[in-house]
Symmetry: C2
Subunit: 448 residues, 2 copies
């Protein structure tokens, strides 16, 4: 294959779906949040579609109003991914664990254990925590940003060193000779940073992919630097092709600066498809999802985005000609120009909102072809290497994507027809890595 193909991740967090109202939609088990059977079925559906990986974003705090919405996180990422590992064969299993709130030995052990348990399918999204509530749950105040990133470098380096603390050939298992391991090939790491330290070794042998794949999310120069040095995949939230392209270009340049091939780092753009038989049907689906959210508040927000004073009384009306003429998209909100485009099409404000114009990812409500067209356009424009799919409602939305969108992408040569191998590293085409990347040895933040 010489034509590049896109990579797909699916975000499965709470068992319901990416939209706040997902928990109460028809066909959704309202207890899915704690029911591993439900979560495993979602992973199986994604695997049927040859999706490269499941991704669980995570912040260890309550971040939503539980009166109307489900938590946005899994009960625990490790428990959910281990359950999924038991019910699937191929799909990658990736979760966030904070570099601010966890010790490197704990992260190294838990993700490597998942990696061997899943036969080489684990990935770790290494991100500092920006939530004061999450820090307070751990009895901490958030450290300054620079310190958080200094610690992040130390944590990733110590984690990767611990992962490599058994040489690949160390686990001999020589039954006749009575030799379990070759301990000359198992060594402490003895790394001491300014914030964290570990002696090692980790008591876990290499997995089928050696060690888990590192991901990164979150922007800014500091985040880019972490991604450039350690990550094979990056979760990004561009709202336009231009934003995506700019991020991807910066990422590739940063990877090159530290001596890596830029193709080693893949950018996944967050994307929310709502697949239905028509755009109208997709909007109706999303309107039903919106029943639990505070539309009064959203319509006010929509007004601010467009430089207009809007109220709930206009929810079922479109913008007037005068309003359209007076509208000034907020320069501080990258979603505003698209929002004005949708408003100009004459939709009622309720339908404008149902287009997801103020959602945290770009939204395409429409047919499978609409969704595939959007993805093709972004991918071919170089806005991303793939997508991280936030499906509105998992119970039927994953199946709809897998059964309707995936075949279109495959027909167009944009998406693989089967997994390339057995491990997450195989699925991503990520280069072999074991232990710390030797190219970064000179740049190490934690030293022995």
């Amino acid at each position: 294959m010489t034509t590049p193909q896109m990579l797909l991740a699916i975000q499965i967090a709470n068992g319901y779906g990416a939209q706040p109202g997902a928990w109460r939609m028809p066909g959704v088990d309202p207890s899915g949040y704690t029911d591993m059977d439900v979560l495993v079925r979602h992973a199986q559906a994604a695997e049927r579609g040859k999706i490269q990986l499941v991704f669980l974003a995570d912040t260890p705090a309550l971040t939503v109003d539980l009166e109307r919405e489900a938590p946005q996180m899994a009960v625990d990422p490790l428990v959910v991914l281990t359950s999924m590992a038991r019910g699937t064969e191929r799909i990658g299993l990736v979760a966030t664990a904070s570099t601010t709130l966890n010790e490197p030995y704990t992260i190294a052990r838990q993700f490597k254990a998942l990696d061997v348990a899943s036969h080489g399918r684990a990935g770790w999204n290494a991100v500092p925590t920006s939530s004061p509530a999450a820090a307070a749950n751990h009895g901490l105040a958030l450290p300054p940003r620079a310190e958080k990133y200094e610690r992040a470098h130390e944590v990733v380096q110590i984690v990767q060193a611990l992962w490599g603390s058994w040489e690949r050939a160390a686990w001999v298992r020589d039954v006749a000779g009575g030799r379990f391991a070759d301990t000359s090939k198992i060594r402490p790491v003895d790394l001491q940073g300014r914030h964290v330290a570990s002696r090692g070794p980790l008591p876990i042998p290499p997995s089928e992919q050696g060690q888990p794949v590192v991901f990164q999310a979150g922007g800014g120069g500091n985040g880019l630097e972490v991604a450039a040095r350690y990550a094979s995949g990056v979760y990004a939230n561009p709202f336009s092709i231009e934003e995506g392209r700019a991020h991807r270009t910066a990422l590739r340049a940063a990877a090159e600066r530290v001596g890596r091939d830029p193709d080693e780092v893949e950018l996944f753009a967050g994307f929310m498809p709502s697949v239905a038989s028509s755009r109208r049907a997709a909007l109706d689906r999303r309107r039903r999802l919106d029943e639990v959210v505070d539309l009064d508040q959203r319509v006010t927000y929509l007004g601010a985005m467009l430089g207009l004073r809007l109220g709930a009384e206009q929810l079922d009306e479109p913008l007037t000609d005068q309003q359209l003429a007076a509208a000034r998209p907020s320069p501080g909100d990258p979603r505003a120009p698209h929002t004005l485009e949708i408003a100009r099409e004459g939709w009622s404000l309720r339908d404008v909102l149902a287009h997801g114009v103020i959602d945290y990812h770009p939204v395409v409500p429409g047919t499978a072809a609409d969704v595939a067209d959007h993805m093709q356009q972004w991918f071919e424009a170089g806005a991303c290497d793939g997508f991280s799919l936030a499906i509105d409602v998992h119970a039927d939305g994953i199946d709809a994507f897998v059964d309707q969108v995936v075949p279109l992408l495959q027909e167009r040569g944009l998406f693989h027809r089967d997994y390339e191998g057995a491990t997450l590293r195989d699925h991503l085409g990520a280069p072999d890595q074991y232990g710390l990347d030797p190219r970064l040895a000179g740049a190490a933040h934690a030293s022995s």
Copy 2:
């Protein structure tokens, strides 16, 4: 039922068995350490025998010589227990997590997630860490003992408070009314101790047993105090009926002092059965297991235990009459009197060692009846409320115990014939508890 019956836990750590040589025995998969299929099969075998729970002891460090022995711990307790949860229906799932090396929010979240995922079968063994290597893996030096126990109290109290941070009726899931939870019933814990703190709430609703069951292990007055206040089960390592009785009496008295019913705390005595068709066959099984251990060193140790100078040249000979006459069991080693008894029976030193006389639990190598007799004797003497079984080799040893010993115990009325309910709390007859025990509110170490 008015006759008390014993409780049984089975220690499943590394996938091979409790004996260092288990990994290389016939029928054992030498890769079992990382293979969840193997570990799940062991839990299924125990569940077939109606064993109340699986217990994973844990120290996050390499504690053995990997040249000849497998690690004594699981790759990760949470990954292994979650895998077991997916492959079993009833058996309890308990693991150690250090109160010294972990933050209470992390413990609370991970064990509660396992608890909801397993439908109310999780337990947490709350112990401070005494391993300098484990502390060094976390970049720490071990704190003084008093401080470790002060922190242990704070951690358990905050964990239990977090577990109770949703009232039982908080998770309404009212689909028609659009109400996910009643947030008037979900509150922060806002606990601040001297060592740890957490704001909360935990974003996890109650499980079928409310919250995980707390266990304790490790002795001394400090350990007893933790057990008395919080534990429903205690892992102890008595080497004699007298030791067991003394520990159990002290434990029950300590529980009473803090206002609990002493029957709320069950003492599990560590025990290593090696079941075979005869005592000779059991000894041969254990001799084969001993092939990887350094018998020269053990025979020297055996000599020290008996006040004799012994060497490997005598391995296949029994003690001489002169040696038996000169033997003086070491007063500092509670295993010494039993060792001398075995030696007096005329076994070769290799067979004396095969009796497990210097193992870390009492060992009975023999028939199912021998094993059942020992258990009955200890149980009826009040040395324990049950046993924590360290089976020599899991692959066939669990089946042997379940198929041969369990029926004998059942026939004698000493062990239940089926699980009493669906949750670990049901299996243990542990009283209902949710959040912190209100009887301990006045004694709280961590305050809001």
